[in-house]
Amino acid sequence: MFKKTSRFLAALATAAVLGAGVSGASAQEDTIKVGILHSLSGTMAISETTLKDTMLFLIDEQNKKGGLLGKKLEAVVVDPASDWPLFAEKARELISVDKVSAVFGCWTSVSRKSVLPVFKELNSILFYPVQYEGEESERNVFYTGAAPNQQAIPAVDYLMNEEGVQRWVLAGTDYVYPRTTNKILEAYLKAKGVAAEDIMINYTPFGHSDWQTIVSDIKAFGSAGKKTAVVSTINGDANVPFYKELANQGIKAEDIPVVAFSVGEEELAGIDTGPLVGHLAAWNYFESVDTPENADFIAKWKAYIKNDKRVTNDPMEAHYIGFNMWVKAVEKAGTTDPDAVIDALVGVSVPNLTGGYSAMMPNHHITKPVLIGEIQADGQFDVVWNTPGLVVGDEWSDFLPDSKDLISDWRAPLSCGNFNVATGKCGGS
């Protein structure tokens, strides 16, 4: 019985590979393929499905304009199912079987780390649209989300200067992004003269749902006579019960504001935001930003998805910027060959949705404005502060001893992602 099944499976697999190979070969002549690597099932589906739709929307728009280099674009969608090793397998499939010219995808840092070796080995291009912890710069990856200095540090500055916060709770989900971000923030706060006993760090597992103890701890920590704020790197589903508990225990934004780095319009869609008015989020884009580009984008998006209630958010804008940069670079290079496109991408500048231009820097990060928004009763954010100009993404944090000497510049002749200015060598600390 077992043998039969395995033989059947093998036959099935061969058939699938053959089928994919045939369709790939026949389609290659007249289209340029774009890979979309976002989870459509599992825990991350809640956030990543929207990004898959965004990419299909952007490709559709581009095709309406006549495609690229005289060819139509064709999307290849795969589902890595929130399973980190499967991300690597699916990336390999996209590059070597489907022969895509570039891949747009990943959300969590662990999924990005999982596909990195594949992109290096097969020399392809990945656009990564989510805010992340930094401490990385790879030749094959373009980071269109925020680095810590484009989100976390300005948010802390805002709380310190505008709200006069002296006591800090750093609360996060227990994985690499919150841990690294909090390490950077802790070093930054200490450099600003905050005492160790005025910083409380707390980690919770993915999907944590019982926040009673932690919220009442925060309340107690906030009653030391100094203005207190919570910096939240809590990710995914756990945010909903966290905010519900805050509201139920009556913690108001006027008393203890919470500034979040992973809560956007999409996440708020599942909560009644009435009791949360005034809590903050730091992003590089909000749906409420009032510019003609943004109004146009929202209108087209709602028409494409055929749903008036769908919101837009920051990672969607990151894909919008990344996709347009890729299109421009391919036009500049006149080919989709990865080496030519990687070289052409640096220096490309495209309009973002907040009324300015974003440019790809030599460290493969982009320039962005930083916005701080307050949650409103309708689930949108009201921008209360923004940086006067654009901020360049800083891949190696200046506040961590291991990385403060490192820089990244992928232009010739340096062509190095971790050049150490102290030792003058490429290859980290």
Partner: protein, 538 residues
């Protein structure tokens, strides 16, 4: 229609009242009101202060509107109005006189934005403006904000208010607010020590915050008094902390109990390893969502009853799915635990993806009815209504289940079949149907657990997954086949978790509880309340 009539009456009354206000005063605050619409947050802050300083009762209305976000600037001349939106048209209301001042298009208006700092200033200003309001609830709110801000400039006002106050509770609150202001003022030391004494008697985290802040700058006898008061309050708070841990533990335990109680039947009583149990919880939660969605669109006044309506429906829907699973899959697999495990796990994936396809991958909003929102205070213990009702609900479900098993014919048949199948069959019991309905009962109870969990957790396709491990843990720990064991197991694990969490953190706390259970199972493989006798072998 009657509502509109009432509105008109109120408006007229307001107009009459306002007409009585001397003209000069209205003219005086008008420029101050218009100043609200100019400049950024800092200018807005200053303008609120200037407006509040007039002490004009009309200023309170203006500030209230500012806080509510209905105060807008007319772009053409910079005049500030309260704007009412009715069906797409925007009616301007003069904030000082309350008179209507025509309409304006959306584009011609700009809302005055407020941030947290401005909201705090508004609250403080409202505090001083409404301290002597005839409404007791407004006075109470006013005193609360003054207590927290502790603004020494409010002292003369507070003294006057205390002299006029008739309600003893509000008067006491005013005395405490006065103490908080005295502590920050430059009054003599003896006054301040008296204030510290008042705050010590009040106790609580708010008083502790004020005292800790004051301790930094105090010297001599005052510092000694403050430090002693801090010690006393902290001692009391520590006692309350213990009570709080127990309460939180019971609350977590009741959530575990709800999730596990259905499993205690399917796994504990029937011996079926049902990995799709969590998905029954999810189906219950989605049923609640559908019910609420229906109520929102066609019968909004029923919203507070939405959970009561969802309960039987969730039981029926999840129960029906359970019966279908038993009839369609599980009955062919009795006695083959490994295959049951794999089959039900596959089913759980199918159900998840099915829900994801129908409802989408994003979270669905399930609202809390008004009686499940907010919290109340017992001493220093904040009890949230949703948690309290879930504890009550979990115990009620448990009690009903025990009664059903003990005193109904179906319960009797169920126990007979699980204890000795051939004998029960010989007595004329249709064992396959009893199996199906038992499985349906377990699934149905998981469904109503989903109704309760939709109030504290996300309603997403993954809802069930996060509870399946915990549920098995509770059932195995409590003793397979014993419902009382499930009750004690759930509550024990909940309380233990909450006592470990403050020291070890949420992540390590969970690990420690798991390690504890593993060790416990080594010692007592059949759990807390092991079944004895021949039933064990069946």
């Amino acid at each position: 229609m009657t509502r509109f009539g009432a509105f008109l009456t109120v408006l007229l009354a307001a107009l009459v009242l306002l007409a009585a206000v001397p003209r000069s005063e209205a003219a005086e605050i008008r420029p101050l009101v218009d100043a609200l619409g100019k400049g950024g947050y800092s200018e807005l802050d200053a303008a609120i202060g200037a407006l509040a300083a007039t002490g004009d009762p009309a200023a309170a209305n203006v500030l209230q509107a500012l806080g509510d976000g209905t105060l807008q600037v007319r772009k053409s001349d910079g005049a500030v109005f309260i704007v009412r939106e009715t069906g797409g048209s925007f009616t301007l209301v003069d904030p000082v006189t309350g008179a209507e001042a025509g309409t304006e298009s959306r584009g011609g208006l700009e809302r005055i934005r407020v941030n947290n700092r401005v909201r705090r200033t508004i609250a403080a200003a409202m505090g001083s403006l409404t301290l002597m309001s005839p409404e007791i609830s407004q006075r109470r709110a006013a005193v609360e904000t003054i207590f927290r801000s502790g603004d020494p400039t409010q002292l003369p006002l507070l003294d006057e208010a205390i002299a006029r106050e008739s309600d003893p509770a509000v008067k006491q609150a005013m005395v405490e607010a006065r103490a908080s202001a005295v502590l920050k003022s430059d009054r003599p030391e003896a006054d301040k020590i008296a204030a510290v004494d008042t705050l010590r008697t009040r106790g609580g985290q708010d008083a502790l915050a004020l005292l800790t802040a004051a301790s930094g700058t105090a010297t001599g006898a005052l510092k000694a008094a403050i430090d002693e008061a801090i010690g006393t309050i902290e001692g009391t708070l520590r006692l309350w902390q213990g009570a709080q841990n127990i309460w939180y533990g019971l609350s977590l335990g009741s959530v575990l109990l709800l999730a596990a109680i259905g499993l205690a039947i399917t796994f504990g009583v029937m011996g079926v390893i049902n990995m799709a149990h969590g998905e029954m919880v999810m189906i219950g939660a989605y049923t609640t969502f559908v019910v609420q969605e229906f109520i929102r669109t066609s019968a909004p006044w029923l919203f507070d009853w939405s959970l009561a309506i969802a309960l039987p429906l969730a039981f029926l829907v999840a129960g029906a799915v359970g019966v279908a699973i038993e009839r369609g899959v599980i009955r062919f697999l009795y006695g083959r635990p490994l295959e049951t495990l794999l089959a039900t796990w596959g089913l759980s994936l199918i159900l998840q993806q099915g829900v994801r396809t129908i409802f989408g991958p994003t979270n669905r909003q399930v609202g809390n009815p008004s009686w499940m929102s907010g919290s109340f205070q017992i001493g220093e213990l904040a009890i949230t209504y949703n948690r309290m009702w879930i504890i009550v609900f979990a115990l009620a479900v448990f009690a009903i289940l025990i009664l059903v098993l003990r005193y109904t014919p179906f319960g009797l048949q169920m126990r007979a079949v699980t204890q000795n199948r051939p004998m029960a069959s010989s007595m004329g019991i249709r064992t396959p149907w009893v199996d199906a309905f038992t499985f349906g009962l377990g699934s149905g109870i998981a469904g109503i657990a989903g109704v309760a969990l939709s109030q504290v957790d996300n309603v997403s396709p993954d809802l069930g997954q996060s509870y399946i491990i915990d549920s098995f843990m509770v059932v195995v720990f409590g003793g397979v086949g014993n419902l009382w064991g499930t009750l004690v197991g759930a509550l024990t694990l909940g309380v233990a978790n909450k006592f470990i969490e403050p020291f070890a953190g949420a992540v390590l706390g969970k690990i420690l509880v798991l390690v504890f259970i593993i060790l416990f199972i080594q010692k007592r493989p059949r759990g807390l309340f092991a079944l004895k006798g021949r039933a064990v072998e069946a």
